[in-house]
């Protein structure tokens, strides 16, 4: 009775805010309901087994962890034989038994042979799923299995030994057979066996369902110890799908990729997703070149909508968490729900994202739901896929477990610059011979000759000689160290997992550090046989100190450093950063190219975030086939940020009025809270050949976010950066709230375990939309057909075969900001000429009639396992239409506004994903596994305001020249800018020859032209994993291909005379290869500096547009498990050590001077608009995992 009240009360509490007026209904529900009769003899399964052993004088072997937490209603007196008792006892437990000898029974777990979902690489050493998950698997399948009999034979050699499982524990019930005979035995509860063979040369075969069989020649030995390893290929995985519903992967009609937690923990990156680069088919992950806490940009199946943040939804333990992006996006002019920084403060650093709060060590498993069908139950926010993370909630094995993990990597900055070092600092072919002019950012000087001198900006006379290795000299090696201690318990009633972790990162910019402390508590508890609850709480404190300003023309260390004149000694810049007044010593006539050493000394930024997220779920099994669950989850963070990105004395800033010093200081505090409450009712039943699973649920999401910000300009007291000390103060407060209510249901019908049909339906109500447009219903259907199970006897080479098909629709309001239906007005912080001034906020015309956008996706695929699992192929084809997109549609400026949001955009993603796994070699001592994953995606803009081909909008502008456009009829993300004007022939064609003006300088096209899409078509990777006698080695090669980029780094390198292409014409000027305006061969001589400066002076970007693709040796991991060397009674139970290397080698790239991945912007509105970010790094380190 009490539990009824508890459940109902909890659910009522969750919803009463929304429905307070119906108190009478509470009363009705709270009326005592009739008590359910108590069943008798309920007790732990383990106790029941012990009772059978005692009653029937038999031995029963089992792994403890399979038995724990299972409860049965049982009395042995009701049975005549042990088989009968076990049959009854193990029903519905997911276990079955096998009579392995006289009075000896072994309990096995029911494991399904057959398929696997797309599996990440390097998984061979660990199980692809957690065993504890399997316990929850409640629809056992019929297995065919032939028990081995023990046959007594005359003694010859007696072999004994101990069999261990992959974690070093005793492994009972392993079959041991003398090859070619029927002679065999099984291991006992301690994993020990004794077997008599009559031939020294016999070979023993060790086998266990779900584990790789091993053949070992006796070779005269009397003791043979074996460690069994799970056989990935033979397992039928359980996949956590939307809402945390677990399904066997073979029943899925869509693509879902499971990621082994080892992929995240062993070869790790500070932001956990970056370690998956190149590993999951169809998932494009880019780590940005912005520092250790940088944003991880994830795009699944390409960019779908014409907005900046096509981010997947992040779900932790079934509840979404916030992944707000604080990346830098200057020039972003279209719809984007990333959080920008306020103008005027000069901040272009990347403030990170929500994923960076997660410690990889806490992740138990991760599933990536790629298509709309997979994500349909998550609704609006899942239109770009879902990353589902399950964190650890209890220990493995029995009792208390302690795990210590140490991870260390050292990050070496990589220098891809290939600059010219023949001509040094200076302009117009002249080297500096007096302190001024200050050419510090130009390398159009004289040819280096021995004995030449130059005079630097501070009057210092030094040799005129090249200064190499600027990257190595300025940056330091970064370091990341993570210490994690995990305490876990696991008992009959439940367990918990508590971890504490500290990560210390040193960025490559010498004053940039990032600290993250996390505490994660997961717990699960069964109050009784029906009532259970589980939950998790994650607290993190993150402190990002001095994230560098990147990817901008002004005030950015990388831009200044990469363009420094090639004969400027760095130590001089360091030692002479201050002038006599204590201000920045001007070393370049480009005053916005702030001396990087001055920046480091004077500029600071602190970002501190406290975050707590988690959820608690209560589950009640009403009937064996019916449960109801209620859950409440919250993500709360507060984030304090302050920075003085224009410190006092910054050369590019105007002087302050008399009595003040100049500078700008900004201080901000943000708070964010998202509350999700949901319920779920789920039923699973079987009717003959048919199985039915039906789920119904609802969710209420409410989010509140606010910001206090003050920006002050000029100060009274020098070097005191506080709001009070500021002259002009500009305060700002903003508050946004939004909510989504949802109801959803799903049903699955299976037939004979080879045909599965699945349907879902969901209704969302969005607070951001008007009442008329608020509600949207969308369905999904999918089917899976395992033809190998229906065709009787498939060919022997075909182990498993499945085809699948799915269609889904999803609606979304994600691109509708709160309050976008009404025009709001603001008042300026400071009086204008003594009076208030104000006006409409923003430049976007409100639209009260927005509807949710719709995504519809069709997917077909197949999954084949061949040659006993040594060949696997999983292929998916999809077409995704995104219609009614909320386009931040540019309108005429002459309307007074810049844009308005309308439902009109349409785009189409088409693609194919494949995963090929091969095991070319598999022998006792050596295995080689090869995995290829690849995805091709093409996204085409079908309509904007209209569907007229060529219609376009500009979504972002490069900080120098060029822009990103969406153009109807073309691939999404077109890079546009001026190109070279080509000779136009009388026959109406272009000859291809460049046209030069009378001054010898190239002329440009009449209008901007497009150079191609900045979005990659091909993303994927090859992995090779080797295991030689327990030493594992794997390496991953990944690629992104088919994308165009506009390189701002090369743009500057060309105009400043660092790029090697500018060597041409240094002596006597440049005569461009082409024609003049009259069609005659060009003979006009242009000054070399002016000739190459066209990228700036003419905004002619063609010379710096590149193929942005690459091939990289992404990861190398080498590992060994030392557990076998540990004595049995040693307190340490397991030791694993891995040596790791990340971003190891650039195999092929097309862009000059940079790694094409050193990209600074998180928004899709600026994709391909490269501007100098931090150099990429090669990290080398180790991961040590110790279990006590």
């Amino acid at each position: 009775m009490k539990k009824y009240y508890l459940l109902v009360g909890m659910l009522l509490f969750m919803y009463q805010q929304c429905w307070p007026q119906h108190a009478e209904v509470y009363a009705a529900v709270l009326k005592p309901v009739q008590a359910r009769p108590q069943e008798k003899d309920s007790g732990p399964l383990k106790a029941a087994l012990t009772e059978i052993e005692r009653s029937f004088q038999v031995s029963i072997a089992y792994k403890d962890e399979w038995i724990e937490n299972k409860f049965v209603y049982f009395s042995s007196s009701a049975f005549k034989a042990p088989e009968q008792a076990l049959d009854t006892l193990l029903k519905d437990t997911g276990l079955y038994y096998e009579k392995a000898g006289d009075k000896f029974y072994v309990i096995h777990k029911k494991i399904l042979r057959g398929s696997g979902v797309p599996q990440s690489s390097a998984a061979a050493t660990t199980p692809a799923f957690s065993l504890s998950r399997m316990e929850d698997f409640t629809s056992p399948l019929v297995m065919s299995f032939t028990p081995q009999r023990t046959i007594e034979l005359p003694l010859a050699v007696t072999v004994t030994g101990t069999i261990r499982d992959e974690s070093g524990g005793a492994f009972p019930g392993v079959n041991i057979v003398v090859k070619g005979t029927a002679v065999g035995t099984t291991t006992d509860t301690n994993g020990k066996y004794t077997l008599t063979v009559d031939d020294d040369n016999a070979t023993l075969v060790f086998s266990f369902v779900g584990y790789a069989s091993q053949e070992v020649a006796v070779g005269g030995r009397t003791v043979i110890d074996i460690t069994m390893t799970p056989d990935i290929q033979s397992l039928d995985e359980v996949v956590v799908t939307a809402l945390g519903i677990e399904r066997t992967s073979k029943s899925l009609g869509y693509s879902a990729s499971k990621v082994n937690s080892d992929e995240l923990t062993i070869n790790r990156t500070p932001n956990l997703m970056n370690s998956l680069q190149g590993k999951v088919a169809g998932v494009n992950i880019s780590g940005l070149g912005t520092g250790p806490n940088g944003t991880s940009k994830i795009r699944i199946r390409g960019q779908s909508s014409i907005s900046g943040q096509n981010n997947p939804l992040i779900v932790v333990n079934g509840v979404p968490i916030d992944n707000t992006n604080f990346g830098t996006n200057p020039g972003n002019s279209a719809s984007d729900n990333s959080v920008g920084v306020r103008a005027g403060g000069g901040n272009t650093s990347d403030g990170g994202d929500g994923l960076s709060s997660i410690n990889p060590d806490d992740v138990e498993s991760m599933t990536i739901l790629k298509g709309a069908t997979a994500a349909a139950l998550y609704g609006s926010r899942a239109k770009d896929g879902v990353i589902m993370i399950t964190t650890k909630s209890r220990g493995q094995g029995k009792g208390i477990g302690v795990t210590y993990n140490l991870n260390y990597t050292n990050d070496q900055p990589l220098d891809f610059t290939d600059y010219q070092y023949e001509y040094g600092q200076g302009e117009q072919g002249i080297r500096p011979t007096t302190p001024n002019p200050t050419s510090g950012q130009w390398s159009f000087g004289e040819k280096f000759q021995p004995g030449m001198r130059q005079v630097l900006y501070n009057g210092l006379d030094v040799p005129y000689e090249p200064v190499h290795d600027r990257i190595d000299k300025f940056f330091r090696n970064g370091e990341n160290m993570t210490n994690t201690i995990t305490l876990s318990t696991n008992g009959e009633k439940g367990g918990l997992n508590l971890s504490m972790a500290n990560m210390e990162s040193k960025g490559i910019v010498p004053n940039n550090t990032f600290t993250r402390n996390t505490i994660n508590l997961g717990f699960t508890h069964d109050l009784n046989d029906k009532f259970s609850f589980k939950g998790n709480i994650n607290y993190s404190y993150e402190y990002n100190k001095n994230p560098p300003n990147v990817a901008n023309q002004d005030n950015s260390i990388p831009t200044s450093l990469y363009n420094l004149a090639n004969s400027m000694p760095l130590e001089v810049l360091d030692e002479n950063k201050y002038n006599a007044q204590g201000n920045e010593y001007i070393y370049s006539r480009f005053m916005n190219r702030t001396n990087p050493y001055w920046t480091m000394a004077e500029q600071f930024q602190n970002i501190r975030r406290d975050r707590i997220f988690g959820n608690v779920a209560i589950k009640y099994n009403i009937l064996p086939w019916l449960f109801v669950q209620g859950r409440i989850g919250q993500d709360y963070w507060s984030r304090d940020q302050d920075y003085n990105n224009f410190p006092t004395g910054h050369a590019s800033r105007a002087a302050a009025p008399p009595g003040f010093v100049n500078g700008v200081y900004t201080q901000e505090a943000r708070r964010f809270r998202e509350l999700n409450t949901d319920f779920l009712i789920s039923a699973t039943r079987e009717f003959g050949n048919f199985g039915v699973n039906a789920t119904f649920g609802g969710n209420h999401m409410q989010r509140r976010s606010d910001l206090n910000s003050v920006q002050v300009t000029d100060f009274v007291v020098r070097d005191l950066y506080t709001v009070q000390n500021g002259r002009a103060k500009d305060p700002l407060y903003s508050l946004t709230e939004r909510a989504v209510n949802s109801l959803y249901g799903s049903a699955e019908i299976s037939f004979k375990k080879f045909l599965y049909l699945n349907g879902t339906i969901r209704n969302d109500w969005f607070s951001t939309l008007s009442a008329a447009n608020r509600s949207i219903i969308y369905p999904s259907v999918s089917a899976s057909y395992i033809f190998t199970e229906s065709m009787g006897t498939p060919p022997s080479w075909l182990t498993f075969g499945k085809i699948r098909a799915a269609y889904a629709e999803v609606g979304s309001d994600t691109d509708v900001p709160e309050y976008s239906n009404v025009l709001f007005y603001g008042i300026n912080s400071n009086l204008v000429a003594g009076q208030p001034a104000g006006g409409p906020n923003g430049t976007t015309l409100p639209n009260p009639d927005l509807r949710p956008m719709r995504v519809s996706e069709t997917e077909v695929g197949f999954d084949l396992k061949m040659f006993k699992g040594r060949v696997g192929l999983d292929v998916a084809l999809y077409e995704k239409m995104t219609t009614d997109q909320i386009v931040q549609a540019q309108i005429s400026d002459a309307s007074g506004f810049v844009d308005t949001r309308i439902n009109s955009g349409k785009s189409r993603n088409q693609g194919i994903e494949m995963l090929l796994t091969l095991v070319p070699i598999e022998s006792e001592n050596f295995t080689w596994e090869f995995t290829f994953n690849g995805a091709y995606n093409k996204t085409k803009v079908m309509s904007l305001l209209t569907d007229v081909p060529g219609e376009r909008i500009t979504v972002g502008t490069h900080v120098f020249n060029g822009e990103l456009r969406q153009i109807v009829g073309q691939e999404m993300g077109q890079i546009a800018g001026f190109g070279y004007r080509r000779e136009f022939l009388e026959d109406g064609h272009y000859s291809g020859r460049i046209v030069y003006g009378a001054n010898g300088i190239a002329l440009r096209t009449a209008d901007l032209i497009t150079f191609g899409s900045a979005l990659p078509n091909w993303v994927g990777g090859f992995n090779n994993a080797f295991n030689f006698k327990g030493i594992t080695l794997s390496f991953l090669i990944d690629f992104k291909l088919g994308n165009t980029m506009l390189s701002g780094t090369n743009f500057n390198a060309v105009r400043h005379g660092l790029h090697k292409m500018t060597l041409e014409g240094r002596e006597g000027g440049m005569v461009g290869d082409g024609v003049n305006v009259n069609g005659e061969v060009n003979t006009a001589v242009a000054p070399v500096q002016s000739f190459w400066e066209v990228v700036r002076s003419q905004a002619l970007i063609e010379p710096v547009v590149y193929n942005g693709g690459y091939w990289k040796l992404r990861q190398i991991t080498m590992g060994y498990d030392f557990t076998k060397f540990l004595p049995d009674d040693f307190p340490i139970k397991q030791v694993r050590l891995n040596l790791v290397a990340n971003n190891v080698l650039m195999l092929k790239k097309w862009v000059d001077n940079i790694d094409p991945e050193t990209f600074g912007y998180s928004s899709d509105n600026l994709v391909g608009m490269e501007s100098t970010g931090l150099p990429s790094t090669r990290s080398i380190g180790f991961n040590l995992n110790v279990k006590f």
Partner: protein
Amino acid sequence: MKIMKKIFNYRFVVVLLVFSVACDNDFDELNTNKTAATAIDPAFQMNTATLNSSLQALIFEIGIVQQIISPNSGVLTGANYNQDNRATTDDNWQGYYRNVIKNTRDVMALTEELPDRANLRNMARILQAHAFMVLTDSYGDIPYSEGGLGYTEQINFPVYESQEQIYPMIIQELTEATGALDAAGKIETAEILYNGDIAKWKKFGYSLLLRAGMRLSKANQTLAASTVSAAFQGGVIVTNADNAVMKHDQNYQNPIGGTLNSTEAANFYLAAPFVNYLKSTSDPRLSAIAVRYVGAKSGPEQTIANQSYDPALQVGMPMGVDNPGAVKAAADLGLASFYDFSQADRRRLTKLSAQYFFVTAAQTNLLLAEARERGWITTGTVGQYYNAGVTAHMEQLGTVDPLAAVPAASISNYLAANPFDPAKALEQINTQYWVASFLNGPEAFANFRRSGFPALAPNPYPGREVTFISRLTYPNSEISVNTENVNAAIANMGPDKLDTKVWWDK
């Protein structure tokens, strides 16, 4: 049966949950912004419009009239190379439509039903007419009747009207609005241009009307004459105390001052034609305007210690040089570097807090001089208006910064040495208008095109795209999204090029 009972009991829970999730009664309240207003006093919007009527026109207009020029490229490309740079040509368009007309249209809509705010409404009409005049003078055909009505009338893609149609409408608007200003009505003291002073507003309105009328001196003399006459009768600004001025401060800085006092401080120089003209007449304004950092070899050497106001030392940068050209020109002239050329003094007239002059007594007096010369007004003499105009401008400089003040004796000396010559009336008047409109790029550019004075030589830059810039090109955004309407305008007016002449310039 037992099962049925259980299900029955749980039904309550399910029903409850379904209802509670589906309810969205509070969504409208949730989606109401609690921290922003849905309306503010229109006077404050009027102030925003006034504030944003100041322009930074260094890259094109002030360069086209050869007063200030930069040798450098990139964002600074424009009149220095006679090259289209659509990142800059759209500045006036965006600045006025987005920040001025958006607000004035809203003020007009909000005050339409408020009789007691009629004065504010008419002020908004006058300020808006000023913005439209600058826009059509800059680009030619523009959206006028439908311009700025995105919010109030949901016109997202306004049609363009020809300048020939627009000017009569501007004249009518100014006539009506100025005439309707009523000193007996509510005095809008919160308004920053004149603190609601109706008499001054009337002078401002009629001065704009005078300017509009004079603009048509080539294109439609009949309308020009009647407009000028009406404006003059209404009463125009003839003393500096009545100037229409945006008063800047450290928080709301002069846009030209902002540019010349930060990263571009060492990138702009006084152009040789302007310096040479002032030198040729021993104009005392040269030392008020110019500064030369004698011997500077770089921006950092442009220090107070090196500065000189001595008119004899001032050297203007020749037109048509790029960076290497400027280096060479400086060497040829015996300067230390191109940083050694004269600049508009960023510590005086182009300081951060410098006023921006929309309409001045100097300009109005000079227009009256021409009007008198043409016989469109009949009182006073040309010479009187001319002398008053020159004097007013010289006196105006000291109101910006005391260190730029021109002594009264210097003014009279100048007028004595350079007396008005009726034989060269139009040339003298409009050349003085050119000087008097220094730092008001659009007005200097418009009057130069209209009058043809001073006779500036074409920019000799070898890579120039056009010989002379006669208008600014339309924004890329218009070509992208308002294609049909802008193409209609181009078909009417001529190609969207820098050298296409606007209607009143033909």
